[in-house]
């Protein structure tokens, strides 16, 4: 079974803090993704990575950065957290090549910035 894990289920941070959200997958997938989910706005892609040290901006990258130093790990960084970054953050992975491009999601991190 594919497993995608996220470092925290719930996180509370203060405005201005630097926040790290970690995601680990165990299926040797090349592609990894970070989304945020907000009521009424659905899921929106923040960044994705198609290989180690490679990244591409998604639809809403402002205020975020990412790091992919190892294939299995993809980190989302909030350099200076703001209240409008309070959201549910979801990580996903999938294989780059092959017969299936099925995406697998982690359990999510609910971040509150006060």
């Amino acid at each position: 079974d594919v497993k995608v894990t996220q470092s925290s289920r719930y996180l509370v941070k203060r405005t201005g803090e630097k926040v790290f959200l970690e995601c680990v997958q165990d299926m040797d997938h090349e592609n990894m993704f970070w989304y945020r989910q907000d009521p009424g706005l659905g899921l929106r892609l923040i960044y994705f990575s198609y290989d180690v040290k490679m990244k591409e901006k998604g639809d809403i990258p402002e205020g975020y950065s990412v790091s992919r130093e190892k294939k299995e790990r993809f980190s989302l960084i909030l350099e200076s957290a703001s209240t409008n970054q309070t959201s549910m953050y979801l990580c996903a992975s999938r294989a780059r090549d092959g017969s299936s491009y099925e995406q697998y999601f982690g359990p999510g991190t609910r971040l509150t910035v006060t």
Binding site: G42, G58, R94, G108, R110
Partner: protein, 105 residues
């Protein structure tokens, strides 16, 4: 960009009823996938279905890529089917707005 429209936006069913959820794309989409988001927020894979029909227990899905739509069928619904159902075109990772389903006991 590609738009993904899901219908209906909300659905309430009595336990045991059947339903059909629809996903329309404004342009051709590869690698369509259906997810169920449970009340705890976890997105659970239902089907990876670029085309054709698949069945898994009480659920089945059909994608007609040439006509840019996909359907998810739920038969004999149960309260555990409650949650939000999303379709995704994984080429550009465009999520639909979801169908919120509530199944009443």
């Amino acid at each position: 960009g590609i738009q993904v429209e899901q219908s209906p936006p909300d659905l309430i069913l009595q336990e045991g009823a059947n339903s059909t959820l629809r996903c329309n794309f404004s342009d051709s989409v590869n690698n369509l996938q259906w997810f169920h988001q449970n009340p705890w927020g976890q997105l659970i894979n239902l089907f990876y279905i670029p085309s054709g029909t698949k069945q898994n227990g009480r659920l089945s899905a059909t994608t007609v890529a040439t006509e840019r739509y996909s359907l998810l069928y739920i038969s004999s619904s149960q309260t555990t089917d409650s949650g939000v159902y999303f379709c995704v075109g994984t080429y550009k990772y465009i999520f639909g707005t979801g169908t919120r389903l509530k199944v009443l006991a």
